[in-house]
Each structure stands twice: as C-alpha cells, then as structure tokens.
C-alpha cells in the first residue's frame, strides 16, 4: 500500500477551480492524478466535473480532456483507445471520469458496450448519489430514502448495484472506492493501469451540497459510509471477490457502526422513519452476509461471475 508521502507533489487538477467548497469528487480527482500521472487522456461527460474545469478559455485540468455527450463516455473512450492503437501510442492511459447519473442511468448503454467489447480503459464512476451538476435530482444511484429535488419525500427505490452489473460483464477488474480512502483508490488505479481490458471503479464521493452536511465533514462522511457498511470497499479481479481494508474487518456485524449514525449526519436523510432505518439496516446486513460468503467459507473462493 502506498503512503501519502510517496505521492507526487505535482498537481494536475489546478487550484482555483469551480468545485463547491468541500467537494468529494475534487479530492478524488486529485488522487487520480497522483496515481496515474499525466500520460492520461480524460473523457468527461456532462457532470459536475464539466463545470469544475472552469469556463472557456481556461481549464483546471492539466491533462488533455475531452468533454463528451452525456450518454457517451464508454463510446468516446472506445474511439480514443482505437485511435491510440492506430497511432501506436497505447501507453497513454484512457480514463473515463463520469458522475453517477452519466454512468448508471443515461450512460449505462455506452459503458456496457465498451465493457462487452473489452475496451482497454479505466472507467471511474464518481458517485455523489444524485445529478449534482443540475442541482441534485435523483439518479439510479441515489440511495433509498434520500431527499433529492425530485424525490422531496425520499426516494422509494434502492440504489442500483452498478459494480455487480459491471462484474457481470466479466471484465478483468471491478472495484469500489471512496474519497475518504485516497491511498486505497490510488492503489486500485495503479493496479487497473497495468491490466489490459475494461477496468471499472465505483467511487463513493461525498457531496456536502447534495447530502446536506457541513463542508468540513466530507472525509468523515465517506469514512462513516464505509465503517457502517453502507459502502463496502472491495475488488473483483477476474471474478474473484476480495474485501479491502477496513471493510475486510466488518463482516462481523458487531464491528460495523449502525447505519443510523450515518443517516444522522446528513440532512438528506432527515425524512427517514424508524421503520425505514430498520429496513435499510436489514438490507445492509443481507449484503454483508453475501460479502462474507463471497470472501470465505470454502477452500477455493467462488468466482462471482465466470472468467471471460
């Protein structure tokens, strides 16, 4: 595991950008460049990062970045990868960096297509659990019970499990990450870079503007998500499931913080009833039972989805 001090001092997300104060995705974008350096071409659909870059004629990205149509991240990345192959420049890493809306909703088709074709790129969904750019409307990644501007009394549906959907494509690498665990994210990116094929990382990125908490608590919020089990840090490498620290110590329910603690900190969950919280706690416990089974229980770890 890399240490903070081993990370380069070079900044490729330049200060003075347009992100909200306390923006989780911005922290992680900085981490991304620390992991991958600047031999990178970024593909960014309509999302918060579109605006974070700042307006023409300036940009806060110090690497080449193509802003693309909302649905098209996976397809655009496919085009760049193909062109780089023809130009014999395949050592340049192609990175799709998209919000949750542009991944699990409108962008899912292009991403699925790119994955099915085994496109050699890294796709990161930075998930702030709503359509942030347009003012916090619900997306398929919004969790059950959360307030958004289009679910003012709380979303009725559960969060789409995008990492497992991507694992079903039998791509060589699927991982979850969280803004609050930058070294884990860096490790995963570096691992992904060396794998050929489609690599998908789903990053939980806390958002003070959408989640309604004080801007100073962004890192704390992500930590709480992981420690309560609301978000698990794991990798699925060639179908083999593995929990990462600190999630690997949370299979035992007693070690997990109650989800109540997570909800209490965020204004968007103010509308949750006791019954809601119980229901969510049950779902989380069920998920973790699954994670437990996937992690151990037999001599050979069962594959989640068969190898390609």
């Amino acid at each position: 595991m890399v240490t903070v001090k081993e990370l380069s001092k070079e900044e490729y997300l330049l200060k003075g950008h347009a992100a909200c104060a306390g923006c989780g995705p911005a922290v992680s974008l900085r981490s991304l460049f620390k992991a991958l350096g600047n031999r990178v071409i970024m593909v960014v659909p309509a999302c918060c990062t579109t605006v974070i870059q700042g307006p023409y004629p300036y940009t806060s990205s110090a690497v080449p970045l193509q802003n693309v149509l909302f649905e098209s991240t996976g397809a655009a990345a496919s085009g760049i990868v193909a062109a780089l192959k023809q130009k014999k420049a395949e050592d340049i890493t192609v990175v799709g960096w998209a919000g949750d809306g542009g991944t699990v909703d409108i962008g899912i088709q292009a991403l699925s297509g790119a994955a099915e074709r085994g496109t050699n790129f890294i796709y990161i969904c930075y998930d702030n659990e709503a359509y942030g750019n347009t003012g916090m409307q619900r997306s398929g990644a919004t969790p059950y019970g959360a307030w958004t501007t289009t679910t003012p009394t709380g979303k009725r549906e559960r969060k789409k499990d995008m990492p497992l959907i991507m694992a079903a494509h039998r791509i060589p690498y699927v991982a979850t990450a969280c803004t609050s665990y930058p070294l884990d994210f860096v490790n995963k990116l570096r691992k992904a870079k060396d794998i050929k094929g489609t690599k998908y990382i789903h990053l939980l990125a806390p958002c003070p503007t959408g989640w309604r908490y004080d801007t100073s608590k962004t890192i704390e919020m992500g930590r709480l998500a992981v420690l309560s089990g609301m978000w698990a840090l794991y990798e699925i490498e060639n179908g083999k499931f593995k929990l990462n620290s600190p999630s690997d110590r949370l299979i035992d329910k007693a070690k997990r913080k109650p989800v109540k603690e997570y909800f209490a900190q965020q204004g968007r969950f103010r509308g949750l009833s006791e019954a809601d919280i119980e229901r969510i706690q049950k779902w989380v416990d069920e998920d973790w039972e699954q994670y437990g089974k996937l992690t151990s229980g037999s001599a050979v770890e069962p594959p989640l989805y068969g190898k390609a």
């Binding site: 600047n38 031999r39 990178v40 071409i41 593909v43 579109t50 605006v51 870059q53 700042g54 307006p55 023409y56 004629p57 300036y58 940009t59 990205s61 110090a62 690497v63 080449p64 970045l65 193509q66 802003n67 693309v68 149509l69 649905e71 098209s72 996976g74 397809a75 655009a76 990345a77 496919s78 085009g79 760049i80 193909a82 062109a83 780089l84 192959k85 023809q86 130009k87 340049i92 088709q109 292009a110 699925s112 297509g113 099915e116 074709r117």
Partner: protein, 392 residues
C-alpha cells in the same frame, strides 16, 4: 491499373473508406446501410484494411466514438440511415461544433412512424441545420468519388467540418453498377495524411468543449458558417483537381443538363435526376425548352449557382423527396430563399414525390414538367406545393 468493377453503392462506399485509408470505423447496422459495414468488416478482418472497427452498440455511440477518434488524430468513417441518423442528432451538432472532419455515408431511408425501409430524404434533410456538409449522389461511381473528395474537403484547414455523403437506399445501395476503382497510389497522391484542427495530445494538453459563455459562443458559430462558405468555394476546386487526377469529375455543386437555353428547369436531388434527364430529352423532342438541375451539395446550399441557373429561365420547379410538415419541401423553400431578392426572378413551384420509396419515373417527372409549363405560360404558379401520384 484502375480496376473496373460491378458492385453496389454500399460496397463501393466500403471501398472508398478503404482507399481513403480510414483508421477507425465505428458503426451500427441498420437497413439499408448494413452492407457498407459488413464490407468494411470483411476488409478489416482479412487484413486488406488496416483499421480499428468498433462494433458499437448504437448509432449515438458510433458518432461519439468517431468524434473521439478523430480528435485523437486519425481519419474516421461511419455509415447509417434513417432512425440511426436521427439517433445521432445531438452528436451531429457536437461533431460540427468540435470542427471534426468526419465523413459519414448516409443511406437515405424514410423516417417512421410507421416503419419504412425505402428511400426518401427525410432522414438527412432533417439534419440540415447540424453544420454538416451534405452531398447527394446520383450513381455508384459518384459515391466513391465523393467520399474521397469529402475527406480532402473536410480536412482542409479552411473547412474542418464533417460531411455526409448521401445515397438513396436500395436504388443505389443495393444496385449493382459499373464503377471504376482507382489505384491506391493515385488515391494516396490525391489525399494527403489526416489533418485536424486540434488534437488530444499529452504534450499539449487542452480541455475541449468547456462551458462557453454568451461572451464567446456566437463567434464560434460564425466560424462554422465561414467554414461552410469556404467549402462552397473549395468543392468545385477539389472536383476539378479530382478530374485532372482521376479522369472524371463528380458533378461540383450543381449538375446541369440542357439548361443553357431552358425556359423551365426541373430542379431535384439524387437519383431522380437520372429520370429527369429522360423526361427532359422527351420534352425537348417535343420542342419544349426544358432543362434539369441536380443539387449535388445541399449544405452549403449553392446559392450563387442557383441564382446563375435561374437567371435566364422563366420557371424553376423543384422535386422534393421530403416534406417539412407545416411548410413545404426543403429544396423548394431554399430555392425560393436564394432567388427572392433577385431582380426578374423566375416562378418557383414545388413538387413532393417519392416519399417512402415510391417510384419517381421519367413519366411522372414529365407530367410535373407539363404542369409547370402550363403555370409558366399562365405567368403564375397554380399550387405552391403539389404532391405527386397521391392516391385519392
């Protein structure tokens, strides 16, 4: 030795993409375009064509992939029809706004509802505002020649716009006809290496497509218009150069047939022109001074050519294989617009024909011409727009 072959326009489009040394093709199948991309798949898999073929999962993704590949620095190609083209709509805007020299074959097919697989121009003409150059071909040879010329045009630094090369479904796409395929080195001499106005380059990083405020946006749009005007000048030049190099021209902006002393000109697009020529010949035999004009380039609209064409005629009748609901055929509207401020402008009447692949024969066109001659002699247009061969 240039090779004489007999093949469908779709296959010929594939040959043209190969001859143009396209490096990335991203395409999705749709009737009646499918044999274009199947041909290209054959070429790529056999090694005859050194290109990446991205078998995308929708037309929207096809155009997205082409845009990104073009921006990364390679020549790209795709093909589609009808609803596939419609699905690409927002991407068409993005491509021209990004000034990417993509060339796309559009195998014209009617729009639904209801489903129709047969040809008309409703698909490509609906996209006339997207900033794409539009060519309309009348035969298989022209399809080949136009694709090659399109790359030269689009990659010219005074243009840097994408282009669609339109050909009618089934009439051309699936019809075998003789085509002269030039030697690869002749094409290489004519078409230089790919050029684009900007590239995604790690040595010179930019962000492309950031938010542009009202303070800046309008000028970028003006630059696209300027590029269109430049294209209008360059198209005949490139055609002449092509003629010198390969021994035949493709038709320039407007193909003219027996127009010099005409009283009436039948103005049309695509393969209807071939039938129009037959009608013109018959009418000429009967002593009628009729001519035919084929608008080969619809965008940029060849205003100056149309004005010149109309100078000494009494009437222009347009044949539109398309209707803009609530108004009239596009060719009719734009021809009227081009001629409106001219002194002594001719009468203009519009005909709608051939929608959904209904056959437009020489006889039909002859009837349209006869109606037009009547109006011409009466000095006024009876009907602004007349639908032809409509069942009662």
């Amino acid at each position: 030795m240039p090779q004489m072959t007999i093949d469908t326009a779709n296959h010929i489009a594939g040959y043209a993409a190969k001859a143009a040394r396209v490096k990335v093709v991203a395409a999705y199948p749709i009737t009646p375009q499918t044999t274009v991309v199947e041909k290209i798949a054959d070429f790529v898999e056999s090694g005859e064509m050194n290109a990446e073929y991205i078998r995308v999962e929708s037309e929207h993704s096809a155009m997205a992939a082409c845009m990104s590949a073009a921006a990364t620095g390679v020549r790209t190609f795709t093909a589609t029809s009808s609803h596939g083209l419609a699905l690409m709509h927002e991407a068409l805007h993005w491509a021209s706004g990004s000034r990417l020299p993509i060339v796309m074959a559009v195998v014209n097919r009617a729009m639904g509802a209801p489903w129709s697989i047969w040809p008309d121009f409703s698909d490509s003409l609906s996209q006339r505002d997207t900033g794409w150059i539009q060519f309309y071909c009348a035969d298989n040879q022209e399809v080949f020649d136009t694709i090659i010329q399109a790359y030269k045009l689009c990659e010219n630094e005074r243009v840097f716009l994408p282009a669609m090369v339109c050909l009618e479904g089934f009439i051309l796409s699936h019809t075998y006809a003789p085509v002269n395929l030039p030697d690869q080195d002749k094409v290489d001499q004519f078409l230089p290496d790919y050029k684009c106005g900007w590239t995604l380059d790690i040595n010179r990083p930019y962000s492309h497509g950031n938010l542009v405020s009202p303070e800046w946006y309008m000028e970028f749009r003006y630059m696209i218009q300027e590029a269109m005007e430049n294209a209008k000048q360059l198209i005949p030049q490139i055609d002449k150069e092509y003629g010198k190099h390969f021994g035949r021209e493709a038709g320039g902006l407007v193909e003219k047939y027996k127009c010099e002393d005409a009283d009436l000109i039948m103005l049309t697009m695509g393969t209807m022109a071939s039938d129009a020529k037959i009608a013109v010949d018959k009418l000429r035999k009967e002593g009628q001074k009729v001519g035919m004009g084929r608008v080969r380039v619809y965008r940029p609209y060849p205003t100056e050519e149309i004005v010149k064409l109309a100078q000494s005629v009494q009437m222009v009748s347009t044949i539109d294989r398309h209707i803009s609901f609530g108004m009239e055929g596009f060719l009719a509207s734009e021809t009227k617009a081009a001629l409106f401020n001219q002194k002594d402008r001719p009468l203009v009447a519009g005909f709608i024909a051939g929608l959904g692949g209904r056959d437009v024969t020489a006889e039909t066109i002859e009837k349209m011409a006869q109606k037009s001659l009547k109006s011409m002699r009466a000095g006024k247009v009876e009907k602004e727009t007349e639908w032809v061969d409509l069942r009662e």
